[in-house]
Every structure is written in structure tokens, then in C-alpha cells.
Symmetry: C2
């Protein structure tokens, strides 16, 4: 049974469980604080293939394949998969999933895609539209740089507020089994544009969307930050996380003692030259599907909010001088 | 209640109803056979704005706005909207929906997006995840040409199998009200790639996906083409429709007496120079949300299959020599 809680939040009575998950990451991500916790590491940017785009698809293929086998299933058991990525026309996903032959619904939420996919999969499983559903997403530093910024060979200098696109992927398998990490509630975000136009400061552009979704969730559920073991944002980075604290303080909400950000967790910013932190769909996905779900399975944490944020602009709209519309989708994951 | 029918099909017991719909189209579309049946017509490619991309967003803004008001609602009544388009990073939708302040879940199904959005909205409404949900999509000839092909000023010659991107948008509002055109069943498609690499022959690339989804649906529901008043594909055009007939005949299925295609309906190919027919997300959306839903409301037709098809490649993957993965999502719309 699904019921609506307040104006923006959805509650799941069966609480669809994550029965399998997997993460794949690049060499640099494995050299950071989460080194050793990914299911697979890609040491070559091309992963032995011809293009960065093919390598990105392969990250997703591997993450989906591993998540299915860790759940003790085969591809034919999956009723539906939700996937998306940052590449134009979401081709990272469409080529990645080609050989699985699983009914596919493409999602576009930019870097919020992992949370969006988890919401969709939960609703399908809880409602009976699927017995078993999956979600996945990916990003790749080299394919993102080429598409959004400059050719790598150009060696462009990055601004301090810029973030580093994570090479990685994460994937989850969901089923109603009443055990393990389960999706209890979800808040679908609304698009926000406060007029930030600097494509090298995504954190600041996304923070207002994060603040809005979090505020809506706390109001709808009548809970507060201290009710949760962790409030994990997707990839606000250092600049965006500070903006989020500031915006929420104006609303009388202080998350600083509970908050962490996937973009801050994945790299060691003292040793790794990533400026404001990690970003990309694969950032939230690979952190959530490694460290976070492991800690939930080990019962180190048992009630968390996972909110991935996305910047919904394109290089074309930035070039045309438009603002950066952003969004944040939230899920409450609880151990059963 | 949602129940699964066979391996790939979903059945809706409440059958979420389309309580409001609207279409917006360009000048050329209004000069075709459907002239006069669109809710609004844009006579200037820029729609008085600065860029084709802004004009495309405005098509969607208008279609959503009109559908909401035709349903007798206001934006604040809508719990969730599903939208997507062909522009990189789906910016047609993100900028179009900015001011509505409706919870938003971006979809990417290329030209299959209207059927995908209807499936998502139906599942949200039927399951209680939303009381009222919407979907919309758009395309614009000029923004699509610029992004996928050549600058308009170049005046490139088109091959006979090429299709003409429709300037248009369509939008639907869904709610469980037990009257009018309602979604009874849905089949989510699987990605198919039979190796066609010609980006000027999308119809042929998409036909195998259409054949697969239709075959799955007939098997799951134990129905046949003659059970339906109309089997409407999205935008296979002339070349793709012929391929679909051929592929289905091999499976012993003959849809020719019931089939029509939005890409063939929207233009008069004898008078309008559109080669194989119309295409783009806005093709299926604007035809479905004008002529088709009007005929259902007037009870001229009362039990149809609407299957929009999408080609999931990008200019980058085509340039890299990859095949064109395709997908087709189907809904069964019945009058209650």
C-alpha cells in the first residue's frame, strides 16, 4: 500500500527492500577514502574499449550484472529497470542495458537519477507493477568533460567551486521481502531556479532544490534531523553543502550534525585535486551502493535520508545565458 | 489495484482516466490533415522568443497549462508530472515546467516518451502515489535539426527514408474517476538493436522494437488486432510501418486493417514535403492529444492500442559507428 503523507511525501507500507546492490568505480575513486569497498574497479579510462562513452556504458553493465548476481537472481527475473545518465540522450544507459533484455524506462534527473530511480523502483514494487525492479546510473570523468566542458587535451584550468565528475556506477535490486535496507518514504522534488548561471558552481545551483525538498519532507513527516542517523546529499560538494546549511538555517533547520555529502566522501580533498568535491550521477550511486548500504547491512546506521540533487541545464542553455534549474529527490531508507 | 498479466504486461483495475488533455502545434502541422484540431497553434518558429529551444519549452508550457485548465484544475492540484524531450539533458522539459512548481520526474524515452509518461502517470494514480498525475512531451523541428543534423541555413538534402520532426506538444492529466478514456493495460518495452546504423532511417530502426512489444502484448493478454478499433504507432512513418507489418507477419500477426501511425496522420505527404512522415516526441503527443482523444471522447473509437516508439541513440554514438537501440512502450486505452 502506498499512501500520501502531507503535500509532497509518499509512504510505503510494505517498504520495498534492497535485496542486491553493486558499485563499480574508477582508479582515482578507488584511491580515495572508499578504496577497497567497490565491487569492481576499472583501472583504464577506456576499460579496454574504443571510446570513453563505451567505457561508461560498461560501468553500468557491470554494476547491473553484479547487483543481479548478488541478489541471487538472473536478468530474466527482473520485471523492470530504471536507468539514466548525463550523456546526451542518456546513451550511457541505453547501450549498457541492451543485452539484458529487461523492460526499460529511461529516467533523466541529472545527478539526482539514483534517488529518482530508487523512487520509481519502489513504487513499481510496492504497487505490484513489478515483482522485482532495478535502478542504475553512471558517470565517467572523461565522457562528461568532453561533453560538458573541454577536450581533455586542452588542459583547462578549473575554478575552485568546480567539482570532479566521478567515474562510477551503482545499481540496486528491489523486492518486497520485509528485511534489510528498505525504502520507507520518498519525496519527489520540484524544479528550482534561483538564477545561478555559473556552470562551474553546480553545488550552489543545486543547494536551493535540496533545501526545499528537505524542508518539505520534514514538514510532511513531522520529523527532524536528529531522528536520522545520516542525512546524505548526492553531490553538493563543499560549496553546495555550505549553501544548504545556510538556506536551511533560515528555516530553523540545522542538519550539520547529521549531514554528509557523497561528493565529499568519495575523494580525499587534501590529497586528491578535486576542488569542491565529486559530482556526476555515478557519485551518489557508487557511494550509496558501497559504503552506505554496507553500513546499513552491518547495522552501523539504520535510518537515513538519501537525497540526490540534479542540475537540469545543458551546455546549450548555459551558452544561451539561461539559469540552472535544479531538483532534489529524497528517500528515507530504514532497516527492517 | 495493479496486477501483472503474462510476462510483460501490467493491468489497471481502476483504469486511471484522462480527465484533461491538450495539444499545441506549429504552423506546418496545422496546415496538415489535423488543421483546426489543436488547442493552440504557434505560427512563428521562435514563438516570439529568442531561441528555438525557448520556443520548444513554450510549446510544453502551453500544453500543460491548457490540459490543467481543461481538467478544471490548477497547477497546485497536480501531485506529479512526468516529462521529457529530445533536447540534450531534456532541457525542453526542465525549462518548460519551471514555473508550475509541480513535483517532477524527468523521463527519457526519445519519441516513445508520451507512452512512457502515460504509463508512469497511470501507475502513480492507480497505486495512490499520486491523486492526480500528468505527463507531457514536445519536439520542435528547428531545435531538433540544429542538434541532430545540420544548421537550417545549410539547407541539407534529406533522404527519402528521413522523417520530419513535428513542432508540437501534448499533455494529459490522469485521475481515478471511472469515466472517459482510461488506461486499462500497459506493456513496458525492452531495448532492441538489430544493427541498423542509418540515422536517416529511424522508422526501420524502431520497427523491430514495435513488433516485439506488440507481440508481447498480444501474447500476454490473449487478444488479437481485430479486438481493437485502432492500433496507433508513434512515428514509424511509411518506411517503418511497412517494416512493422513485415516483421509481425512472420509471427502470424496482421495489423494492417487496424493500424495507423501518428507520423502518417499528421502531414499530408502528397502536399507537404516530409518524405517518410512526421517524427519527434511531439508527433505522437500532439496527435494523441488532439484527434485520437477527441474521437474517444466522441465514442467514434473506444478501445485502442497506443504504442510510441523511440530511437535511443545520440549524434555522438552514431558518429562512433554504434547501432541504433530502439524501444516501444504500449498502452491500451479504453472508454469506461
Amino acid at each position: 500500500m502506498i499512501r500520501r503523507i502531507g503535500k509532497y511525501t509518499i509512504g510505503f507500507e510494505e517498504t520495498p527492500s534492497i535485496i542486491g546492490y553493486a558499485s563499480v568505480a574508477g582508479k582515482m575513486e578507488n584511491e580515495g577514502p572508499l578504496g577497497g569497498s567497490f565491487d569492481k574497479v576499472i583501472y583504464d579510462s577506456y576499460d579496454g574499449l574504443d571510446t570513453y562513452e563505451q567505457a561508461e556504458s560498461m560501468l553500468q553493465t557491470e554494476a547491473v550484472s553484479l547487483a543481479i548476481s548478488k541478489a541471487g537472481l538472473k536478468a530474466d527475473d527482473i520485471d523492470c529497470i530504471f536507468a539514466g545518465d548525463l550523456l546526451n540522450q542518456c546513451t550511457g544507459s541505453s547501450y549498457a542495458l541492451l543485452d539484458f533484455n529487461i523492460p526499460y524506462l529511461g529516467q533523466y534527473g541529472a545527478c539526482s537519477t539514483m534517488a529518482q530511480g530508487l523512487i520509481m523502483a519502489s513504487i513499481f514494487v510496492e504497487s505490484g507493477a513489478a515483482s522485482i525492479a532495478m535502478c542504475t546510473t553512471s558517470s565517467h570523468f572523461c565522457s562528461a568533460e568532453r561533453q560538458y566542458r573541454f577536450p581533455l587535451e586542452y588542459g583547462g584550468v578549473r575554478t575552485p567551486s568546480a567539482q570532479w565528475t566521478v567515474t562510477g556506477s551503482g545499481s540496486c535490486v528491489l523486492k518486497n521481502v520485509k528485511k534489510g535496507p528498505s525504502i520507507a518514504r520518498a519525496t519527489v522534488g520540484r524544479i528550482v531556479d534561483l538564477g545561478i548561471k555559473d556552470a562551474n558552481n553546480m553545488g550552489a545551483a543545486m543547494a536551493p532544490a535540496a533545501a526545499q525538498t528537505l524542508k518539505n519532507y520534514f514538514e510532511d513527516t513531522q520529523t527532524q534531523p536528529s531522528d536520522y542517523d545520516l542525512i546524505l546529499t548526492g553531490d553538493l560538494g563543499e560549496v553546495g553543502s555550505k549553501s544548504l546549511y545556510d538556506l536551511l538555517k533560515r528555516e530553523g533547520i540545522d542538519i550539520s550534525s547529521r549531514h554528509n555529502d557523497c561528493g565529499l566522501i568519495i575523494y580525499d580533498r587534501k590529497k586528491q585535486d578535486v576542488h569542491s568535491g565529486g559530482s556526476g550521477c555515478g557519485c551518489a550511486a557508487s557511494v550509496f551502493c558501497s559504503k552506505i548500504l554496507s553500513e546499513m547491512c552491518d547495522e552501523k546506521i539504520s535510518n537515513i535520508l538519501f537525497m540526490a540533487t540534479g542540475a537540469l541545464m545543458s551546455p546549450t542553455t548555459c551558452g544561451q545565458g539561461a539559469g540552472i534549474p535544479s531538483i532534489a529527490h529524497l528517500i528515507n531508507v530504514k532497516n527492517r
